[in-house]
Symmetry: C2
Subunit: 337 residues, 2 copies
Amino acid sequence: MGESQEENKTLTIADIADALGVSKTTVSRAISGKGRIGSETRERVLKYIDAHNYTPNVIAKSLAQNKTYNLAVVMPGDYELIDLPFFQNCIMGIQEIASSFDYDMLLTVCNNADVTKLERIVHNRKVDGVILLRSFMNDVQVEYLQKKNIPFVVTGSSNYKGVVQVDNDHRAACRELTSILLMKRMKKIALIGGNEEHVVTQSRLMGFKDAFADSGTAVDESLIYMNLDNPVLLDGKLDDIIKREVDCIVCMDDAICMEVLYKLRREGISVPDQIRVASFYNSSMLETHDPSITSLDFDAKELGMLVCRTLLDMIEGQKVQKKTLLGYEVRLRESTK
Amino acid sequence: MGESQEENKTLTIADIADALGVSKTTVSRAISGKGRIGSETRERVLKYIDAHNYTPNVIAKSLAQNKTYNLAVVMPGDYELIDLPFFQNCIMGIQEIASSFDYDMLLTVCNNADVTKLERIVHNRKVDGVILLRSFMNDVQVEYLQKKNIPFVVTGSSNYKGVVQVDNDHRAACRELTSILLMKRMKKIALIGGNEEHVVTQSRLMGFKDAFADSGTAVDESLIYMNLDNPVLLDGKLDDIIKREVDCIVCMDDAICMEVLYKLRREGISVPDQIRVASFYNSSMLETHDPSITSLDFDAKELGMLVCRTLLDMIEGQKVQKKTLLGYEVRLRESTK
DNA sequence: CTGAAAGCGCTTACAG
DNA sequence: CTGAAAGCGCTTACAG
């Protein structure tokens, strides 16, 4: 009796203990690998588990250990379409690492203005840690998480003290690309940037200025146009920029770059003959564009993987590096010939 | 004594019971609203909870109720870039509904060939139900979920029996758009489709054929090109199609449509003067394209919301409609003038 | 209307 | 090396 194998009845640790004539403690130890246990006993338990296709109840484990084996990933709600591949690849990277450690990923969408979704998740104790996919100069999410003292990592850079961050080295990348443009004897370079509230915008701006400093040239501040993530505003400014007959337009991101290219086409201005164009970011759009557009290239998936690994380390209580910078590549293409 | 309010100590139901001099049972009932309880007692408990910022421990609740308050959303791993906004909007819709019912969304990426990630989640009992963002003619995920007898809903259509599905009415939409093209006296219409394994591809094909049947015209099967999601293959076939001097090219999705437009531009063939173009799907790419491209428009966010609502109903044990069809809009633009 | 008690399926001091 | 027992924070028959 009791020997029948009902496939549907989900096994518990108690069932296994009964079947094997050992205690639940022993079974638990065999599974977790913690605590002393005879290797022969362990083998027996493991073999039984394997044969009967047992999986521990993660919820019960969670309650006992006060851990959820879940990560929250916060995606900004106001993304540009063109940024989607970046987030997506990043998420793929996170997923890959998380699941390999038996963690799951709880995705939520938040605007910087509205953190209630994040609050709910944290307050409900549904996650062991949080990944922010974007950060702001004034970041309500960061402040909330710091206050709550919950492990979190920012994808990108943060100006807040003590925040663990993993980023590509945007500053160095923009510096290098800008230097190349300067070396190609472009004098009047216009820089068009988006939301100044994004930390990455600031990094890019600094990299741009670094290059000028390196070359001993003064930056013409009047050629730096910021906060032009709105297409209508941008369009107006572009009329100015075109009138000023710049050698090159450098766009801080691809959403802006696409608008610029669209405008130039409408105005019948040819790239690169009449004006050069480059972008500080790289979507596949730019690569297949005609002409192809010079840009910077970052590996979003790798970034996601590292962010996730860092967060898991923090959760396990290991020391982690405050700030990790990943590489980049400069893609010189036809638009700056 | 015991009156000090330590902000950091997380309250439990037992603390509240103690403080109020009632039993845990009573507190639980006041919170859940289940079971008989005096309204005065309930008020007292609720007031205390509110004042002390108590949130129930969802994990403990999960264990007791054998429910997780989590949903899994499975995103295909082999998506086209251009489809990303669809998935994203869908996910936004799901999120919105889920969180309003205090459910969270566990996102995972799976190829049809590899369901191990999904299996892990289900096996670990981390979710109460699953949403599949895409389905296949032969769908390992569907088969797995059916076998496991776990509530799930498919976004899109499924040919499997008994699967709950929410979809836009692709067939009717394609029928209507095709009918319009036929009425505009286009005779030779080439249809270019992607992966025949996707259920939606079949629906679109049927809609296309419906329109011909309606108009009493025979479909020229030789003008129907399928499985051309590979750009290189597509390019070759397009040479054929161009040679055959069709009036119009209808693309089953926007990835294909972009390739077609790219090819036509390279060949110096003007749209719509020399050839008309339409797409059975609508990305923002087509709208801003020059010329703008006639296409079908679906509301992905609405779809996501309804899918999620349906799944939640299933989880709560309510009867749900086997198949729900949502509307669409035909966007006639310059490319079929 | 209310409460004592058992239970959900694990983990983990503690004792041996 | 192994086990009995308490505990994680809820829910829910059952009894009153």
